[in-house]
């Protein structure tokens, strides 16, 4: 296959993509929410050579009563992992259907500072009406209203990231001024349902703007850096990626692999006794590691990367690490991230200019090179 080598992402929420994944986990349920376990899974993904890990989230616990499973907030897990990892990109899922965009902007900018430029943001939606009751907010009803909240939320979050120019802290001893206030900007956003003044309380993130990922259709393409595209086969993924209109595209791929103890089919069947693994129309591979490697090779040139959703992390991540990723790296179908680079750099994305900065120093530097 032609095209640039793939960038590999993996979703690490809970015990895996299957709602009953915890039943095949290598640990008891009460270990899921311990710092040791959270760090161990991320370390395995980083060591395997993934470029990005994502962490699913929402206001409601995964699993419905009586099969409820606990979940620590994705931003808190991401921040914790930013310190316990050193290379891998980290993108929490944060819906802005009900959340305060001002807080979300602060949290994600802080995550980028803490990780020294390795942070991303997967935008999602709160779809279930129970989320409105949890948040104590009026129900955001229907797809159009949810899309409006996402659009406005991203607009505010991104504007706040730019509300500090990179060189706003001047520490001018002669004039006693710590800041150049002319390099701070009110965002003065007014949307359909709320207004936000600004500027941010957190300095501009190291990447300028975090890498924003989301599903096309739910979020306008011009607000995304990476479209997470879906399709049950390569033909539909090719069409979806071509239509995305975003700088980068990643294909969503659900995977269950054969292990030493059981075939992928047996493992899926075992979990299906407890709950169905509903397909959302994503590409799904249930089978051998070699088969997955071949499938991913075919995606090269179709998309810029893939996000894998392993059935059970404790079972599938070791197989990915042992067989699939080394195979792709050895043939240069995919690349490992390099230490010291930002997530934007890993994805081949430019550091964006600041929308408020007129002829800022950092851009001038670029031009003289």
């Amino acid at each position: 296959m032609s095209g640039p080598a793939l960038r590999l992402a993996v979703e690490l929420d809970g015990d895996g993509a299957h709602p009953a994944a915890w039943r095949r986990a290598a640990h008891s349920p009460d270990h899921l929410l311990t710092p040791r376990r959270v760090a161990r899974v991320a370390a395995a993904a980083e060591n395997a050579g993934f470029t990005l890990l994502t962490l699913e989230d929402g206001a409601l616990p995964p699993g419905a009563t009586p099969d409820v499973v606990g979940r620590i907030g994705a931003v808190e897990r991401a921040a914790f992992l930013a310190t316990s990892t050193s290379v891998i990109g980290i993108a929490p899922v944060v819906p802005v259907t009900y959340a305060e965009p001002f807080h979300v902007s602060s949290q994600l900018a802080s995550l980028d500072h803490i990780s020294i430029g390795r942070a991303g943001w997967v935008v999602s939606e709160e779809v279930r009406p129970e989320a409105a009751r949890a948040w104590d907010r009026p129900l955001v009803d229907g797809a159009a209203a949810r899309a409006r909240e996402s659009r406005d939320g991203i607009e505010v979050v991104r504007a706040l990231w730019d509300s500090w120019e990179d060189d706003a802290v001047i520490r001018s001893v002669a004039t006693s001024r710590y800041l150049d206030r002319d390099r701070l900007h009110y965002v003065d956003f007014t949307g359909d349902t709320y207004a936000v003044k600004g500027p941010a309380i957190v300095p501009r993130p190291p990447q300028g703007q975090l890498v924003v990922l989301g599903r096309p259709g739910l979020v306008p393409a011009e607000q995304l850096d990476v479209a997470l595209v879906e399709g049950p086969d390569i033909a539909s993924l090719t069409a979806a990626a071509a239509a995305a209109g975003t700088p980068r595209t990643f294909a969503e791929v659900e995977v269950a692999l054969d292990t030493v103890d059981a075939t992928a089919d047996e493992r899926v069947a075992d979990l299906e006794r407890h709950a169905p693994w509903t397909t959302g129309g994503r590409l799904r591979h249930i089978g051998s590691a070699a088969g997955l490697a071949t499938l991913l090779e075919q995606l090269r040139g179709v998309v810029d990367g893939v996000r894998l959703h392993p059935l059970v992390l404790d079972e599938d991540l070791p197989e990915l690490s042992r067989l699939v990723l080394p195979h792709l790296f050895a043939r240069r179908h995919a690349v490992r991230p390099l230490p010291g680079a930002s997530l934007r750099t890993h994805l081949g994305l430019e550091r964006p200019a600041n929308r408020y900065a007129a002829g800022a120093a950092f851009e001038a530097l670029e031009e003289t090179r």
């Binding site: 008891s28 914790f80 701070l184």
Partner: protein, 466 residues
């Protein structure tokens, strides 16, 4: 080095507790010195937290301001500015520390209980029982301009909302029974059936119906901190808090009066009078001799109160823009102006400016002080200055007399400002038997010697303890 005769003091075995407050705001943190580091670089947060942990501190503390400070409609540009979201930064520190408590200042007006309680629970689980929450209640429309609801809350309702917020948060933290999550891999269910209770609350401030997402941490609930100083604030603390910050830590008599007042309020609500830790905020300046310490203080004050900052502080007192005056010249001749308070930093004027200005004029004249010298001498005051031995004797006296339980220390320099305290003062306190020589427990609640969370106590416990 002799211990005070135990018979002479009310609390012969009392121990001093230290927290460190990485401020990220205010002129108290020096930025002009070559040793002054970045206020946003994660390495500096790590350095301060790890130094505090080396010094066996109880807690690392972060503040919060939800709008950049302004004076007369312009962003205040003289002080350090720009800090990370507190809970996010603390979750990162949880991975590189293992004993110190991690305390976030978080607002009850511009947050919702489901979200904030869950974020604090996450921090508490990731740190294995080291989270704390400093409950604050900004209410003004000026701050509200950054949020969906704007300035919706009446000033009079701010503590009502905070208290109802805490009620909902505690219900969420209590939503999972102890041991709800299975400890065996082959369990029939992730959480025991019926062990997770839906939280339904309907009150003047909140109308929620939700499933709590997380089990209890090793310390039950995050430790509750509070910093109100008004009568209303103190009553709120007496009803709800585990720790109170205060500005009453400089003068012994003032500190003791504050502590006695809180003990009265605790008894009035049926709590034991040792149920609340009192940790005033302070600055500590250490020298090998008293003279050296005082010289260091003079140098630090000149760094903190720059000419422009002196004019800024005087400007707040006078209610006038004095930025074009000479800080090294005399005090302004004009009378002070009393202005409206919209909640912005620059609007926080002094209660009786005419009286204060008259005092300043009298003393400046007597001492032939310039405006800057007057601000340094008579402006906002804080802190303790001395030798390690002198400070340790003084602090031992404070804590054994029951005037306070410790200090929340603000370093004047980031990231090295805590080194003297840990390397010189802590050993002197340990010699006097008023400071731990190792962490006895693993949770913040254990470090502070606190009882279990308020909602976990039976009525009988509460009565007996009282």
């Amino acid at each position: 080095m002799t211990r005070t005769d135990p018979l002479d003091v009310p609390r012969p075995d009392a121990q001093l507790h230290f927290g460190v407050f990485f401020q990220g705001v205010n002129h108290w943190t020096v930025w002009s010195d070559p040793a002054s580091g970045s206020q946003i670089d994660p390495a500096n947060f790590r350095r301060v937290a790890q130094t505090a942990e080396r010094g066996l501190f109880d807690a690392f503390f972060l503040g919060e301001g939800l709008r950049l400070r302004e004076v007369d409609g312009q962003i205040h540009d003289l002080d350090i500015t720009g800090r990370p979201d507190a809970i996010t930064q603390l979750a990162a520190l949880a991975a590189v520390t293992d004993r110190i408590g991690l305390v976030s200042t978080s607002n009850t007006t511009f947050n919702e209980p489901a979200d904030l309680a869950r974020r604090l629970s996450g921090l508490d689980l990731l740190s294995e029982g080291r989270a704390g929450w400093n409950v604050v209640t900004t209410d003004n429309a000026w701050t509200g301009a950054n949020f969906r609801r704007g300035g919706y809350l009446d000033h009079a309702d701010r503590y009502r909302r905070a208290e109802e917020f805490l009620t909902v948060a505690r219900a969420l933290w209590d939503g999972w029974e102890n041991g709800a999550v299975s400890g065996s891999p082959g369990a029939p269910a992730w959480a025991a059936p019926g062990a997770v209770r839906q939280v339904r609350h309907r009150g003047p401030q909140f109308d929620v119906d939700l499933a709590p997402t997380l089990p209890r941490s090793a310390q039950g609930h995050p430790v509750i901190f509070q910093a109100g100083d008004s009568g209303e604030g103190r009553d709120f603390a007496a009803r709800n808090a585990d720790v109170i910050f205060s500005a009453h830590g400089n003068d012994f008599d003032d500190a003791l009066a504050f502590a006695d007042d809180l003990r009265r309020r605790l008894r009035a609500v049926g709590r034991p009078e040792d149920d609340l830790r009192i940790l005033p905020g302070t600055e500590i300046i250490i020298g090998a001799t008293e003279e050296e310490a005082l010289e260091k203080k003079r140098w630090i004050r000149l760094q903190q109160v720059t000419p422009a900052t002196a004019l800024g502080i005087a400007g707040l007192l006078w209610g006038l823009d004095l930025s074009d005056r000479d800080a090294d010249g005399p005090l302004p001749k004009e009378d002070p102006v009393v202005a409206e308070n919209d909640g912005s930093f620059g609007a926080r004027r002094i209660a009786d400016p005419r009286k204060v200005v008259a005092e300043w004029r009298e003393k400046a004249e007597a001492h032939r002080w310039s405006l800057r010298e007057t601000v340094i001498a008579l402006g906002p005051q804080r802190g303790h200055v001395g030798t390690p031995a002198g400070l340790a004797d003084k602090f031992a006296h404070f804590v054994r007399q029951g005037a306070l339980d410790g200090f929340n220390v603000t370093p004047y320099l980031i990231p090295d400002g805590l080194d003297d305290i840990v390397d010189l003062l802590v050993p002197a306190l340990q010699e006097r038997g008023v400071y731990r020589t190792e962490y006895a427990g693993t949770t913040l609640r254990e470090h502070l010697g606190l009882r279990e969370p308020l909602t976990h106590r039976s009525t009988t416990d509460r009565r007996q303890a009282g």
